[in-house]
Amino acid sequence: MLKINNLHVAVGDNKVLNGLDLEIPTGEVHAIMGPNGSGKSTLAHVLAGRPGYEVTAGSVTFDGRDLLALEPEERAHEGVFLGFQYPVEIPGVNNVYLLKAALNAARKHRGLPEVDAFEFLSLVREKMQLMRMDESFLSRGVNEGFSGGEKKRNEILQMLVLEPRLAVLDETDSGLDIDALKVVANGVNTLRSPERSVVLVTHYQRLLDYVVPDHVHVLVRGKIARSGDRTLALDLEKRGYDWVTEEAA
């Protein structure tokens, strides 16, 4: 589904990704781990098309199409979803409106009519129940005054409503207590299917206890330094990142 080839990315003068290779087949969950500053969030943002990241070499294809040539909204239409590490607050735009506009944008792209108001509300209610979110969230401004945990749950709610084919979740587990972590993990697991892939960007292995990945990759200085199955994450938990960093050097 996703093929990243020799990807080099700079932010200003700073080279953040230095020849990253990664392939995510359809239906798999991959975890990307790594120390601070290794380029994990940059990778997530580049996949979603955030401005300010300059791709200096390499390619990214999504179902054979050049992903980097697409605008952020086009990537979303193709089924790419970024779960933000720090979701922005947008007072004045309410959650329900954003969900509806986003869902309709995706439907329009697929040649479907706008979602029926009644169906939409029952869909959103069902997903909110899963995410243990109160209905009052709907009428509030996007992420406005939300706690860290509420923001993350809101990201997963959006993901569940939009049903992306590739979800890239950037440190969705950070700042969550254990109960919230389980709710978020449950949301991600609901999305797992043979047609969808998930990239979990994370520091810690504890999320991976609940969302068991098919593969784990360690990013060091902008390159994949090591790949393995979920036992790699457990190793990292015990031994820290230093040994991988040293090996990579």
Partner: protein, 426 residues
């Protein structure tokens, strides 16, 4: 004031019936002549453009209103609010539905007789003198102490006459007795001609423990010139909230002067302004803290597109003895075009200790992080930008407590922002 303009105003005044009989009007005219009109060299009038006045006839239209107005032409009424309509500054009983509320007296100034002078006179309020010299009618509203009329009155001022034929002088005096509660809606629209000259003067006085919600919607015609002066005085523990939406006119200037004369009085000034094409919207809002422990909350949100210019100058003066003053200013401007100009300016003058004055002012473009967030959810760029412009205004618009009026203003804002897509959101 340019000598030619001064002469023309004096000539137009001399030709009116008041020139010989009405002493108060003559005094106003004389004061205006002595003081002169402001120029862009006056600090508080930097953005004013007096050029359009050169083609204006200052006297009211000689034969009365030029365009017949029917109820259908007017904005949809708001439930429970009694309506008083004025056409070119003159009360139109056939377009009005007077109040039956006990304790609320509304009179046509024409019926009362000689005009009473504007209670405040400073150089910045000189356009009120112009109104005083020429106004032919207006509303005098007396609210008796203890009256509770929160959904109370709506004043609709309609301008129908071309500026070169005659001017429109809306005039309002609102006096609210102790402990009373009043809601007032004031609208300005153009019908027939969209190229009017409107000069509006409003004075509000709020007695102790009384509270006033005042909504103003300026939707004058696309080529109209709109000058406005609003003064307010608050007694002890009085509350006054002024919500303004500035949408219309080619050139609009509003001058506001609020005096917090009583202890623990509170004023809220909430303004939104949306300018496009070559519109100029300029507001100067002065709050004077005279008594102790009074509060001011001032919020402005302006969006400027095309080649428009939107300016908001919010000044707070804390006089000696006004200790315990608490004032907050949040002035924000959004540039939505490369040729547009936004000027937001908070000013503080403090002559006492023990005050708390917060102010924040920003002028800029849409937030990139917000924009990217919406794009990443699949919204197209245009929709995302519209939505963010909307959101920018919404926190001030949300303070409008009359749902029907709020919806009407939101619809107008959406129209002004050219937002078919936004209508869905309302």
């Amino acid at each position: 004031m340019s000598a030619a303009l001064a002469t023309r105003i004096a000539e137009d005044f001399a030709a009116t019936a008041h020139a010989s009989g009405d002493l108060q009007r003559q005094r106003a005219m004389q004061a205006l002549t002595e003081r002169g009109l402001p120029t862009s060299r006056d600090e508080n009038w930097k953005y004013v453009n007096l050029r359009p006045l050169e083609k204006v006839r200052f006297a009211p239209p000689p034969g009365g209103p030029q365009s017949p107005v029917t109820t259908q032409d007017l904005p949809a009424p708001i439930a429970q609010y009694a309506r008083y309509t004025f056409v070119d500054g003159v009360f139109a009983p056939n377009l009005s539905a007077p109040t039956q509320h006990a304790g609320v007296l509304v009179k046509s100034i024409k019926a009362i007789g000689p005009i009473s002078p504007h209670p405040l006179s400073t150089p910045d309020l000189r356009f009120a003198l112009l109104n005083e010299a020429f106004a032919t009618d207006g509303a005098q509203i007396l609210v008796e102490p203890g009256t509770d009329c929160q959904a109370c009155l709506e004043l609709v001022f309609v301008a129908t006459t071309e500026a070169k034929v005659g001017a429109s002088y809306p005039r309002v005096s609102l006096q609210v007795g102790a402990r009373a509660r009043v809601g007032l809606i004031e609208r300005h629209v153009s019908i027939g001609s969209d190229a009017n000259f409107i000069n509006c003067a409003v004075d509000v006085s709020v007695a102790r423990d009384a509270s006033v919600q005042h909504y103003r919607v300026q939707q004058a015609g696309a080529r109209a010139i709109w000058f406005d002066t609003l003064t307010a005085r608050l007694a002890e523990n009085a509350k006054y909230q002024l919500h303004s939406a500035s949408l219309g006119a080619l050139s609009a200037r509003s001058t506001v002067h609020v005096q917090l004369a009583g202890e623990r009085s509170e004023v809220g000034l909430f303004s939104v302004s949306v300018g496009g094409k070559n519109q100029v919207h300029d507001t100067f809002a002065l709050v004077e803290h005279i008594a102790a422990n009074a509060r001011t909350e001032q919020s402005f949100r302006g969006i400027c597109a095309g080649r428009a210019r939107v300016a908001f100058n919010g000044k707070i003066i804390v006089r000696k003895g006004a200790h315990g003053t608490d004032s907050r200013q949040s002035l924000r401007g959004l540039l939505a075009g490369d040729d547009a100009e936004i000027d937001v300016r908070p000013q503080l003058e403090i002559y006492t200790d023990d005050v708390r004055c917060n102010h924040g002012a920003t002028a800029g473009k849409l937030d990139d992080n917000m924009l990217f967030y919406l794009l990443s959810r699949g919204l197209d760029r245009e929709t995302a930008q519209r939505l963010l412009k909307w959101a920018f205004l919404e926190d001030v618009v949300a303070k409008i407590e009359v749902p029907e009026l709020r919806r009407q203003i939101e619809q107008s804002l959406a129209g002004q922002l050219n937002e078919a897509a936004l209508k869905e959101l309302l």
